[in-house]
């Protein structure tokens, strides 16, 4: 076979790789933070007393879970100019990614809230805790425990999904692979390097999650 695997050929491109990895990381982290906030809002809508608000929350989740992220990114990116707003590629990707991830975050947070038994609120109220104290000392620690693992999965999902930003010209890692691959014709090497970047990011999240989990949740402290 005429192809020899030599990483040396892509040394000149490693400088741009760091920038690309930085963009992937920035895009993912921002999208995660924004989608947690948005998702919390939607989860609260889904527990509202109003049927209309509950429907809006549920519809949002269904739309986001059943529509490809790529199509959402295109809509955000191309819709802007059509209605007179110019979004940079990065901002469009951030908005699209956050909107999409919020649908999943909402479900994760909702499951976390459902897992807190009604008796917990009653016990806290009976003891005279205010609404804020109840949230801080009783509800949040329990919700956090329930959502901890799925939240980690979602963080990984967002990091992987951020690769689609390359489709709307954000120069992150997938885009780096495509550009460097097509200029140097070293697609094998660029693939390996890009895969390693994603692997490192995802496994860092995984290991961090395990380590922090062990620190936070001592044995036996499982909700009943």
């Amino acid at each position: 076979m005429g192809y020899t695997f030599t990483l040396r050929t892509i040394y000149p491109y490693l400088g741009t790789l760091w920038q690309a990895a930085g963009l992937t990381l920035a895009l993912s982290l921002l999208a995660i933070v924004i989608s947690i906030v948005l998702g919390a809002g939607i989860a609260i809508l889904r527990r509202s007393h109003s049927r209309l608000l509950r429907f809006i929350g549920a519809a949002y989740v269904e739309v986001m879970r059943n529509t490809p992220l790529l199509v959402i990114l295109y809509i955000v990116y191309f819709a802007g100019p059509s209605i007179g707003i110019r979004l940079s590629s990065f901002n469009a990707a951030l908005i699209g990614l956050s909107l999409n991830s919020a649908g999943y975050m909402a479900e994760i947070l909702r499951a976390g809230l459902i897992a807190v038994a009604p008796g917990q609120f009653e016990a806290a109220h009976a003891q005279g805790l205010t609404a804020l104290q109840t949230f801080r000392y009783v509800v949040f620690p329990q919700v956090f425990r329930t959502i901890y693992a799925p939240l980690g999965n979602q963080v990984i999902a967002v990091i992987l999904a951020s690769s689609l930003a390359s489709a709307i010209a954000v120069d992150e890692v997938a885009s780096w692979m495509e550009t460097v691959g097509s200029t140097s014709f070293r697609f094998f090497e660029t693939f390996v390097v890009a895969a390693i970047v994603y692997l490192v990011l995802c496994q860092a999240v995984n290991l961090g999650r395990l380590g922090i989990g062990r620190m936070l949740f001592r044995q036996g402290a499982v909700a009943r």
Binding site: G119, A123, A126, Q127, Q142, V222, R224
Partner: protein, 242 residues
């Protein structure tokens, strides 16, 4: 007489169903009132109205001279301890942390004072060896005794027990009732919703029989068990006695 709690023709409705139908009664300091009656007759709801877990639609409740209203409910809850059928311990906290939470957060007491008192209470409920266990590691009876310690640690003027032994395995019921007997001997004011007629007879100073949202009979436990004045009370007592 020193009234702790006064209910003045209170009415509680869930939708169109009336759960408490103009109920009036006065509880004096040191009384141990046992509420008995068929399930669904509003005994638990009555307790839950006292500390505002349920809103009343009519009448008035006053605790130690102040009306129980949404804006005063915080002050009332500080002085009323409640023990639930399903314990409702906080699963993410150890037994000790469960007991210490409210005194520190609600009553703003110093950690050291609270911890001293909490440890003494664990001795009282005979669970000193389980102080660092999480609720999931405790048996039902142990969880309920932690819940009692949790209520006591806030130094309440009134203790309310909502079917405290109904969710327990038979072999652990005795431990919980034992702790409750000890509390009764200290002269505490207690409201107990229970199906344990023997406990009511031995420990209660007063028994209230409720049926369909009304107080049907109210008097000395032993006298009521021996000779119920109403036909409904007689039927009920013989049905659970036998």
């Amino acid at each position: 007489m020193n009234p702790v709690l006064q209910l003045d023709s209170i009415v509680k409705r869930f939708g169109s169903r009336t759960i408490l139908d103009t109920v009036s009664m006065t509880v004096n300091a040191g009384e141990i009132v046992c509420f008995v009656g068929p399930s669904g007759t509003g005994k638990s709801t009555l307790l839950r109205c006292v500390n505002g877990l349920e809103q009343i639609q009519g009448g008035q409740i006053s605790f130690e001279g102040t009306a129980v209203l949404p804006r005063s409910i915080g002050a009332v809850r500080k002085r009323v301890g409640m023990i639930f059928q399903h314990f409702n311990l906080y699963p993410h906290l150890t037994a000790l942390q469960n007991v210490m939470l409210a005194p520190m957060v609600v009553h703003k007491e110093a950690k050291k004072t609270v911890e001293e008192r909490a440890r003494a209470l664990f001795e009282k409920v005979r669970l000193s060896h389980r102080i660092n266990a999480y609720p999931s590691q405790l048996s039902g009876g142990e969880q309920q005794r932690v819940a009692i310690a949790r209520a006591l640690c806030a130094q309440p003027h009134l203790l309310m027990f909502d079917e405290p032994t109904s969710a327990l395995d038979p072999e652990t019921v005795g431990d919980v009732l034992g702790v409750m007997r000890d509390l009764a001997k200290e002269g505490r004011t207690m409201l107990v919703v229970t199906h344990e007629i023997r406990f009511a007879a031995d420990v209660g100073t007063r028994m209230v029989f409720m049926d369909q949202g009304k107080i049907v009979e109210d008097g000395d436990p032993r006298a009521m068990i021996a000779a119920p004045k109403t036909e409904r009370a007689r039927q009920f007592l013989s049905s659970i006695h036998g």
